[in-house]
């Protein structure tokens, strides 16, 4: 059943294709991956930050050894495929012959070397791979002279990178202005000024005549007679598809290897993708269409019917401090109009090209914040005649009064593209954030936004900031523990997405490094599993801390405390008598009133626990869960029943809430308070959920705390009736159960997801109803008195020693 797939070239396109392929059919392929470079896939777009020193190579590796190993991919890195034998379906390399059922050619492109004298001298490099980058880094000593031939995207990134390392850099460009394919002359001029300001010499209309040098490169001679001294020459004049292997195999090749919309070459068993292909007379150099090809090819190989359609792409330059943006067709032509905005003082230039009332091109320099907004209009072909007067001012003007720097992002519609490389729109990112993603790393993992060239990272962060609200922060992604590299949030997501319903399943599928976890991850996993799969998962007592395993709070001397539930802090003579009797019978050293309005019996021996529970059970008392990451107490005041100021029956509401919520497990402890009037005698405003009754209803606040941090609750919603107050509280607790990281109190969780998001969820009737339904379902399993279950003789045994050797030992 498994098919043999041979892939020639481990670049970004084939890497993405393999990911999609194995996502679709994890067991379907036996893959051999050849790469002429002696390494696996890394983010080639990120070579510029490596060159400039802003990143290291390790940071741009996209697929490490572990990735290939985990998927059983045979890696033949550093081994060049020399021939394809189509008749026998094998590829030939130094290591011998490798048979294939399907072959994918992803050889990418080779730098174009201009045929001038001296091009083979040592010290002449291109800018294509890590070796080139390292050569440039090595040559970029302060004071060293470097010449870059080619003032396009790649050449300028090379120039800026070497200049950042202190080299004296000259750019020689054949055309009249820099980046002529992406920029018009005005923007090219501004770019040249910016580069010159940082010490880079730019020579336009410069044709290279020869590269001079005896044993290695020494200078570059131009047609006009100019000579520039050079310790290193980087040739970045363009690329051409690397097609030799396909030509030799007699596949159809034009400029690139010709493929159909299914990425199939003229041999039905052989496919190609990436910079080496030609489709409908087009070549592809930007990453976005390559990723589209990767998706299509993976689908086709897995038997799907996807088809590739080239889409428009936009360009940005990854040179820190040079903001330029270009999209669409911006050439002058009859019937086209242009709108130009210049601010010479600030070095800003914007030009829009309009044809038939539609925006067809945009070039911007200096301020590119609105780039994506314009790009969206170009792609959609929106009629702009109505807004033509103000169009150039972008979404800020279109949307009215907006001075907030986030306004431009806020104004983008959900379908606006944020990440061009991966084709991720704003709506998809917002959806991921609402699904619990709280930082860039999670968004990258979930949506791939900003995961390639990274120029949209700032935009993605702005979307994050907008969606999360004021609480946005940049938390460092911490793995759960040493057993895994995954964060709590990632594990929560994967448990749901992959339907992992047992601890061994989580540890196996998510690649835990230990056999059975550790004391940090196991309690967290146990909670996530029982919260997400209440009917399927069986609670694992051995993964709980002693207090939750024994349902009592361990004290410093190894004894335990016993706290029976007192609903809403209300008790009676019969219960008090039972507590007093138990205190005497079991020699309880201390009886104390807790801060949560109940009574604590401290210093009970472990083996007495089942018996004292049985006695308390007999008087109708159940566990108060004073030891759990779960619902603790609901503190109340006497409310309208007795108090002359009380506006509602706060005691009754507190009892009703406690009866609904008790027994539920939560990421951390949950304490509630209900006060009968704004005088707030129940101190409700420092609880996880605090309800303050007023004449007109119930003010529900959340996210209070009075522990290591003291926090006042924030207003969530107002309820008109007691029933609604209970519904809102239940829905909030369930939302917290479903989304929070283990050991985050609600206030910490709300700070991450934003109160507005929480409120939107609870306020939406359908979402609220779903939350309540899932909470009640879980309660059917978990709302059981743990004392009653453990007071039975067979269970009680476990609280005693398994054997008693004290008599023998004493003999």
């Amino acid at each position: 059943m498994t098919q043999r797939l041979v892939v020639i070239g481990a670049g970004m396109a084939s890497g993405r294709m393999i990911e999609h392929l194995l996502d679709g059919a994890p067991e379907g392929w036996d893959i051999t991956l050849f790469n002429a470079e002696p390494r696996g896939n890394y983010n080639r777009l990120m070579l510029s930050p490596v060159l400039s020193g802003e990143k290291t190579y390790a940071e741009i590796v996209t697929h490490d050894d572990g990735f290939y190993a985990a998927r059983g991919i045979a890696c033949r890195f550093g081994e060049t495929v020399t021939r394809i034998d189509r008749a026998r379906k094998v590829v030939v390399s130094q290591g011998g012959e490798t048979p294939y059922d399907r072959l994918v050619i992803a050889t990418g492109s080779a730098p174009f070397i201009i045929p001038v004298a001296g091009r083979d001298l040592p010290g002449v490099v291109s800018y294509r791979d890590l070796e080139d980058t390292n050569a440039m880094i090595a040559a970029s000593r302060p004071g060293a002279k470097a010449v870059v031939i080619g003032g396009g995207l790649l050449g300028l990134e090379a120039a800026a990178g070497m200049a950042a390392r202190g080299a004296d850099v000259t750019v020689i460009h054949l055309m009249g202005h820099l980046m002529e394919r992406q920029l018009d002359p005005a923007a090219g001029y501004l770019l040249q000024k910016d580069l010159e300001r940082r010490g880079i010499r730019v020579h336009c209309k410069g044709a290279t005549k020869a590269i001079l040098g005896r044993d290695r490169v020494e200078a570059v001679l131009l047609e006009d007679g100019t000579v520039y001294g050079a310790d290193l020459v980087c040739m970045a004049v363009g690329i051409r598809p690397e097609v030799r292997i396909a030509t030799d195999a007699a596949l159809d090749v034009e400029r690139g290897i010709t493929v159909d919309a299914r990425m199939r070459t003229s041999d039905p068993s052989i496919f190609a993708l990436g910079e080496c292909v030609e489709f409908e007379s087009q070549l592809f150099g930007l990453v976005a269409p390559l990723y589209d090809q990767a998706r299509v090819l993976a689908d086709v190989l897995n038997g799907g019917d996807a088809a590739f359609r080239p889409v428009q792409t936009a360009t940005k330059l990854k040179v820190t401090g040079c903001d330029l943006f270009s999209a669409g067709d911006f050439a002058e032509a009859p019937g086209r109009e242009e709108i130009v905005f210049r601010d010479p003082g600030r070095g800003i230039y914007k030009r829009l090209v309009i044809e038939n009332d539609r925006l067809i091109g945009a070039v911007m320099y200096g301020d590119t914040a609105d780039g994506n907004w314009f790009f969206q209009k170009i792609k959609e072909g929106t009629d702009v005649s109505a807004t033509r007067e103000t169009l150039i001012f972008g979404p800020a003007f279109a949307g009215g009064v907006q001075s907030d720097p986030l306004a431009a992002v806020a104004a983008l519609p959900p379908e606006a593209e944020i990440c061009g490389c991966n084709g991720v729109c704003k709506g998809r990112i917002v959806q991921a954030i609402e699904g619990g993603a709280t930082d860039i790393a999670q968004l990258r993992a979930q949506t791939k936004a900003s995961a390639s060239c990274g120029t949209c990272t700032g935009l993605v962060e702005q979307v994050l900031a907008l969606t999360l609200g004021d609480a946005f922060q940049k938390p460092a992604a911490q793995p759960i523990c040493g057993c895994t590299d995954l964060t709590h949030e990632e594990v929560r997501r994967l448990i749901k997405a992959q339907e992992l319903k047992s601890m061994p399943a989580v540890m196996q599928e998510l690649g835990w490094r230990t056999s059975c976890g550790c004391p940090s991850c196991r309690p967290a996993l146990n909670f996530y599993l029982l919260a997400d799969w209440p009917l399927d998962y069986r609670d694992d007592a051995q993964s709980r801390f002693v207090n939750e395993r024994l349902h009592a709070n361990i004290q410093k001397d190894g004894t335990f405390s016993v706290v029976p539930r007192m609903w809403g802090g209300v008790t009676n003579a019969r219960e008090l008598r039972a507590i007093a009797d138990a205190a005497e019978k079991y020699d309880v050293p201390m009886v104390k009133v807790t801060g949560g309005q109940r009574i604590d019996l401290l210093g009970v021996r472990k083996e007495d626990l089942p018996a004292i529970w049985a006695d308390l059970n007999a008087a109708g008392l159940v566990s108060g869960h004073a030891y759990s990451k779960g619902l603790r107490t609901v503190k109340t005041c006497v409310g309208s029943e007795f108090c002359r100021f009380g506006t509602q029956d706060s005691t009754g509401l507190g009892i009703a809430l406690e009866q609904r919520l008790w027994g539920s497990w939560t990421p951390h402890k949950v304490k509630l308070g209900v006060s009968g009037c704004p005088r707030n005698c129940a101190e409700a405003t420092c609880k996880d959920v605090g309800i303050v009754c007023v004449d007109s209803g119930y003010e529900i606040g959340v996210g209070g705390a009075a522990g290591m941090d003291v926090k006042e609750t924030q207003r969530l919603l107002k309820a008109g009736t007691e029933a609604e107050a209970i519904e809102i509280t239940v829905a909030f607790v369930q939302l917290y159960r479903e989304h929070a990281k283990y050991l985050d109190r609600p206030y910490k969780w709300i700070a991450k997801v934003g109160l507005d998001w929480v409120r939107d969820q609870i306020a939406d009737p359908a979402t609220r109803a779903g939350l309540i339904e899932r909470f009640d379902l879980s309660q059917r399993v978990y709302q059981k008195d743990p004392w009653a279950e453990r007071a039975r003789p067979d269970a009680a045994r476990r609280f005693r020693p398994v054997a008693d050797l004290s008599l023998e030992a004493a003999e």
Binding site: S515, P523, A541, K606, L805, S806, A809
Partner: protein, 111 residues
């Protein structure tokens, strides 16, 4: 001479859990790990006397419930930055029964 005595069925001890054996000198914790091996150690953390039998068992180690010191079940040595050790006693499983070396247990009274 080793005197193996039968203290319990293996299934009396939960996997990744522990039970205690009472002796005249205090309790000994008998651990059962994920791979059904058994280990016997003093049920008393050298740090503040915490009952190790109530800790979380992970791999061949246990974490004390009081202050999270970690001990190797095989050597009794504290792991990581903490220093200290717990006495260990020979224990084994035979035909589904847990056997422990009574002589060593009794000898510790003298030690």
């Amino acid at each position: 001479m080793t005197i193996w005595i039968d203290i319990a069925a293996l299934d009396d001890i939960p996997q990744r859990g522990a039970r205690t054996v009472r002796t005249a000198q205090g309790c000994v914790a008998v651990f059962r790990t994920f791979d059904d091996r058994v280990f016997a150690l003093d049920d008393r953390c050298p740090h503040k006397g915490g009952p190790l039998s109530d800790g979380i068992v992970h791999g061949h180690a246990v974490t004390c419930p009081l202050h999270a010191w970690v001990f190797s079940l095989e050597t009794g040595m504290a792991q990581g930055a903490d220093t200290g050790a717990v006495a260990t006693y020979p224990a084994r499983v035979e035909a589904g029964r847990v056997l422990i070396d009574a002589e060593r247990l009794m000898a510790r009274r003298v030690a």
